[in-house]
Symmetry: C2
Subunit: 292 residues, 2 copies
């Protein structure tokens, strides 16, 4: 198996390390290209990969599996290139996969281009970036969503599953639209909410002393820190997730807005809020978390 990485940061670097360490992959060869070339150079230097390629064309030559490891917009451009200029270099039976966080746009593009493609989304919490931060065990026991496309061949999904298992991940097959709507709820909405909470509470410069952040900040404790930690993330990455999954995220946001309206109705009751009803709601929420 010959693998070509286009884009080579934390995720691709962690995959390459896991493959290099896998006993089943002793005959695999890996090439990598990235816009800066920094990650591939490091990885070739420490013998994680076999070739730091100077261009995408050099990286994909002879590859059985091309792994796009870039933000969604860059993946779309790379797909266009693979179907156009790079089409002469790409092996006829090469399979394309990726590690991007939203899937519907990529599946649509691959199908439109007739590109042999199976989408992937290895899910691991990441607070750092770049090849140097990668770890061979980053995906151990983590889900790796596998998303089929119409242009994939029989057995292609299994090839990506094999890669996922080699990294210690648990492959989970989902339709692209289901994946995007699920991650909108468990990943993108939490990010939006953390930012919105900051905007609503910490973003004020007001003559109202109770909304003066210099008064409030010293009183913020662990609950505040938990609920705003995601707002410290990379703004460009967050914007990419939200913009490329906006319809699913807006759907989830509407659901949440309806829930918040029902909370406000409870708080605004003419005869005062009912502590028993609130306690029941909080107890039910905790129970649905514990059930998972």
């Amino acid at each position: 198996m010959r693998v070509a990485f286009l884009g080579f940061g934390l995720i691709a670097g962690s995959i390459a390390r896991a493959v290099r360490a896998a006993p089943d992959a002793v005959d695999w060869t890996m090439a990598a290209w990235s816009p800066s070339g920094a990650g591939p150079a490091l990885a070739a230097g420490d013998d994680t990969i076999d070739l730091a390629a100077a261009s995408p064309a050099i990286a994909i030559r002879g590859a059985d599996l091309v792994l796009l490891a870039a933000p969604v917009p860059a993946c779309l451009t790379l797909m266009d290139d693979l179907a156009a200029d790079l089409g002469d270099v790409l092996e006829a039976d090469a399979l394309v996969t990726d590690v991007a966080s939203t899937k519907a746009m990529l599946v649509q593009r691959a199908d439109a281009l007739g590109l042999r493609y199976v989408g992937g989304h290895p899910m691991a919490g990441m607070e750092s970036s770049g090849y140097a931060a990668g770890r061979a065990d980053l995906f151990v026991d983590r889900p790796w969503v596998i998303v089929p496309s119409r242009s994939a061949w029989p057995g292609d999904a299994e090839r990506v599953q094999t890669l996922a298992r080699m990294c210690g991940a648990r492959p989970i097959q989902l339709e692209a639209s289901v994946h995007d709507r699920v991650v909108a709820g468990v990943s993108h909405l939490p990010l939006l909410l953390a930012a919105a909470l900051v905007e609503a509470v910490a973003g004020r410069d007001s003559s109202d002393v109770a909304k003066d952040w210099s008064v409030a900040a010293p009183l913020a404790a662990s609950g505040w820190r938990d609920m705003t930690r995601l707002a410290h993330g990379d703004p460009a990455m967050g914007a990419g997730l939200m913009a490329t999954n906006s319809a699913a995220l807006a759907e989830r946001l509407r659901d949440l807005e309806a829930v918040l309206r029902s909370w406000r109705s409870e708080l605004d009751r003419a005869d005062g809020p009912d502590p028993v009803a609130i306690e029941e709601r909080l107890r039910a929420a905790a129970a649905s978390l514990d059930a998972s």
Copy 2:
């Protein structure tokens, strides 16, 4: 100084431990009563307090400072008792304080009863409860909000500040309404939001596979856990906070709802969301956190 605790769990137990360890308080005596008597018995057994009192009347006899360490509704009842049946036992110059999480209701009641009262709110993240979980250093470097009332005498606030400093806390004086509106934003709204996120995303039992929690739960990662951790808290305590601070919380919730509407407008733009605008919003949110 003679201190009487009415209610004696994690908070009061931690204060008692800190006082016992304080070099300035070698001549202080402490008595405690709680409904179950369990905490006071343990604290008398390990010589943290001088007396495990069998009743509130026994606890407050001769006390200079009566500290109410109970949820807000129980504090209100204790205040009523101090102004009525217990009035004969309470020293004429005894000062009443408390450690409850909302303050306006208590100040109003104290003023209505003519009770000599200065409110307090030591703020520390607490995931456990009961005297046994207490620690002498629980409040070190934490804020301890001090809230005056009309019925307090000159110098009373300073007496509570002395207690706060003895526990290593940083006393911060605020009006009751300002305190309640600030904690509505940094503490109670985050709690409501964690529960609402769970209700909106994890509470579904739906024929829509993308809203089936058994499908979504395996894909939930660290961001989801951060944003829902508060929903695991004690439902009765959470309901007490929200119900006794409902007006301030509803105000903050309306602010948040307006922010969420503006996010949805961005996601729902006819020509698609603008990644640059989203990135700018996320960057500004992160910056306002970093500034604090």
